[in-house]
């Protein structure tokens, strides 16, 4: 075996399960992320950018592993992952750690984890598995069970309280149910019921959650408190103009006016320094990932792989939309990171796992189709 063929073989092993369009887009996004994080951390230290690079590398390895797992294997993991996730969530409710008035963390002795993050993946996995199992004889009762499976963990997370994550978990599961074909009539009825429930649910919201809605409606009512984030981020984005103020040159970003500027509000830094052109480019890159994801889902051979690929893709969109909507002031402030852009190991890891699943689905179909 020549060296050349050895290299070819290694390269083949490394890339066989990867999806080229997704991979290229992700690398571009990661590069943008590192660039903006360097700027958001003041432009004089590589600490954060290097940290994010490490996050990307670790997540890439995990993604590669997931991509190499056949969808059947992934499906088998659905129940254990969900059970563990649910157990941990219950653990949080019983003996979780409280920080900033929220009980979201669980100390496992070797480290503190946030079990709701696991649910973001575990929920669609479980529901996709469930519908896969019931595909032969899908009845309305199955949808009811699915909704129950969806509501319990979401409610647990909402009680922590963590409305943002609860919405993400709920929507990830909901996407599965939606894609599985729950009838439009029921969907419509559910939407009407949910809308009707808002006035009744409103009193149960926490004050800070209500405040976020008020703030969305009129940020100027509390310019130094809850409205401050939105006011400063819209100023940053708006002042960026067509082409932005240039890398490292955004005054809002560099002078600390943007809160959480390398995490949840990184889009404000990006918008200020790279302008409308940068913003549209980012949306385009997201569209590539979403489009590719939907394509993979539509071509997937099994119910499970279709549903999980579709749900992962729609979740990805949800993250992007909720974050950009929040930072530009069209959605309330909920703590959702901008996918593949915000600093943060957990978020990057769960996104890469999702994309790993997409890649697994897209590269394993021949094997399963038979």
């Amino acid at each position: 075996m020549s060296l050349r063929s050895a290299i070819n073989r290694v390269f083949d092993i490394l890339t066989r399960r990867l999806d080229a369009p997704l991979m290229v887009t992700m690398i571009v996004l990661a590069a943008i992320s590192l660039t903006v994080i360097f700027s958001a951390s003041g432009g004089n230290t590589f600490d954060r950018a290097l940290g994010q690079l490490r996050n990307f590398c670790v997540a890439l390895v995990v993604m590669w592993i997931v991509a190499n797992m056949p969808p059947l294997l992934i499906m088998r993991l659905a129940i254990p992952v969900f059970v563990v996730g649910l157990a941990l969530l219950i653990g949080v409710a019983v003996m979780g750690e409280t920080r900033n008035n929220a009980r979201r963390w669980l100390n496992l002795g070797f480290g503190v984890i946030q079990p709701s993050e696991i649910m973001k993946i575990a929920m669609p996995l479980l529901l996709a598995w469930y519908f896969h199992k019931r595909e032969e004889s899908l009845r309305l009762a199955d949808y009811a069970i699915a909704i129950l499976l969806l509501v319990v963990p979401s409610a647990l997370v909402m009680r922590q309280p963590d409305l943002g994550t609860a919405i993400l978990i709920f929507s990830a599961g909901f996407f599965v149910i939606f894609l599985a074909g729950l009838s439009w009539k029921i969907l419509l009825a559910g939407a009407v019921a949910a809308a009707a429930a808002i006035p009744f649910a409103w009193p149960f919201l926490h004050d800070y959650q209500k405040q976020r809605v008020y703030t969305l409606l009129d940020p100027t009512t509390d310019p130094l408190g809850a409205g401050y984030h939105i006011i400063q981020s819209t100023i940053a984005i708006g002042s960026g103009g067509w082409l932005g103020k240039g890398w490292l040159a955004g005054s809002q970003a560099q002078l600390d006016f943007i809160p959480e500027r390398s995490t949840d509000f990184i889009f404000a830094v990006y918008g200020e320094e790279f302008g409308l052109v940068g913003g549209l480019l980012l949306i385009a890159l997201y569209l590539v990932i979403i489009g590719r994801g939907l394509m993979i889902a539509m071509n997937a051979p099994t119910t499970f792989s279709r549903l999980i690929a579709g749900a992962v893709t729609l979740s990805f969109f949800t993250y992007a939309f909720v974050n950009m909507g929040m930072v530009t002031g069209i959605l309330p402030v909920v703590g959702v990171p901008l996918p593949l852009m915000s600093y943060g190991g957990t978020a990057i890891l769960s996104l890469f796992i999702g994309i790993g699943i997409l890649m697994s689905v897209s590269t394993h179909k021949q094997l399963v189709a038979t």
């Binding site: 074909g181 819209t234 708006g238 067509w242």
Partner: protein, 641 residues
Amino acid sequence: MIGSTIRNRELEINVFRGRALFAGFVILIALSVVAARLIYLQVIKRDHYYTLAEANRISLLPVVPNRGLILDRHNEVLAANYSAYTLDVMPSRVKNLDAMLEELNTIVEIQPRDKRRFKRLLEESKNFESLPIRNRLSEREVARFAVNRYRFPGFEIRPRLFRNYPHGDVASHALGYIGRINDADLKRIEEADLTSNYRGTDHIGKLGIEGSYENELHGTTGTEQVEIDAGGRAMRSLATTAPVAGNDLTLTLDIKLQKVAEQLFGEGRGSMVAIEPSTGEILALVSRPGFDPNLFVDGIDPQNWDLLNTSLDKPLLNRALRGAYPPGSTLKPFLALSALESGKRTPQQSISDPGVFRLAGVAHYWNDDKPGGHGVVDMHKSIVVSCDTYYYQLASETDIDETAKFLRALGFGTKTGIDIDGELEGTLPSRQWKSNRFAKSTSEARKWYVGDSISAGIGQGYNSFTPLQLAHATATVANDGIAMRPRLVRQITDTATGKVRSTAELDANKPAPKNFKPENVAVIKAAMAGVVTEGTGARVFANAGYVSAGKTGTAQVFGMKRGEKYVAGRINERLRDHAWYIAYAPADKPTIALAVMVENGGFGGTAAAPIAKAVLDFYLLGKKPDINKLKAAQSEPTVSD
């Protein structure tokens, strides 16, 4: 069965694809909304947000100008600035101030005195203001605090300019002091439309030169455009408009003379004003006791404040301008001048003084100081020996309103126009005055009686004037009847241009005070010279080494019953007579005119004249005063005046 499964599967795939396409459609719409929002923010509203971002980023900081210096007439520095660090607190940002101060004390020494002063500032201030808790930090303390800064939110070290008065309490009443801007100051600043010029300034001149020349001394505040971060910290300077330092003032005061004169008063109370007759320039303005203006610069602590405020000696009272005392016999030369000017008397007109003055139809009689009287007395002798009877008679023949008119021209009962605020007009009695003064009493009490004229006629009665007024009138006589407006500031040096404005030129536009006939003034001058050679001032001024002119005065504080002998020792110290001496020298070409007043000092010839002589000795001959000799002269047996 298999067929239906396949059909089911196809159906399911079709449903899935339909749903996925629908989702894709929704996604496109949602992301289009985000894109539209971006276009709205970044294209349509871009200018609006750009302006907001700039407003966020750029802050205009005031750059406080250096306050102008105050120099004496020989360029000796009387008030200067120095830079030092203060530790400021913004009380609104500190939760438990007392606990925080305790903790701070381990790093920067906070004395009880600092705390008391701070409490006082706190009571007077608005909540959001930043207040100094410690002034003049050492380099070590600055470094120690810098390291521990994170522990003390709301505390900050600031470099600041301080005012320093190197001569301490010398000339304190003339200089005044600066203190923190209070509500009243703020209101005045607002009314004068100077608010922007006082941004960043936290001290303002309160009294004396510092107060009255505030506009010259303050300077023009500069601005610095700085880029600030969200926490308000300045990151870098973008542009600066340099401040223009306040103008320097050169005073007319001679600080050496001032110091000597203040020494002469010892622990006692009193005042002296010395004027250069030809210019009106005030050479010394003494009011004792004084105070240390340095105490006020950082905000005075309550202990010192109480001490100054409650002391019976009233150290904060500027006696030279705001102390009105009956002038006693020192008024006689001016009464004589008025009589000459009005034609009521000629110099030669004489009276015979039997030692007592009686008025036809009035049972009351008025004693002369000298039992048995002074014999034949003309105007010259009336001043030299200080003959009361001469002036009783003059007063009985002169309408009080006419006397008031002439005395007013000499500056009595009116402001002299000195260039610092706060001088009193004193009391120049007249019919109108008495009627106003007793407006609430019976018409009997408001009427003017001839008896009022007679006691007013020897400088007693309702008369009361400030030492400044006496000195000013003396200087007018010394200057051959040409009155010069008294002045403390000689010139103003514009720091920006280096141009010097003399205040004499500035004064030229003001209406000149009334002048007097030189021949009349000459009579008075000769008589005042006689006081020193042969009269009530002769003993003190024997062998002076220069020729001076003067007049003694002893002003009653306490009315004596007739026949009761005035014995100083028997009377409460504060009810004793005030001692006066007015003088100018050299007699032929005066370079200095002065009025000395020793509060409750007793006889003018004994208590005040030796001080006047020591001042003249120093000014004319450069002779340092001998305090022991002065004490000895002041305890000589009393002579009448």
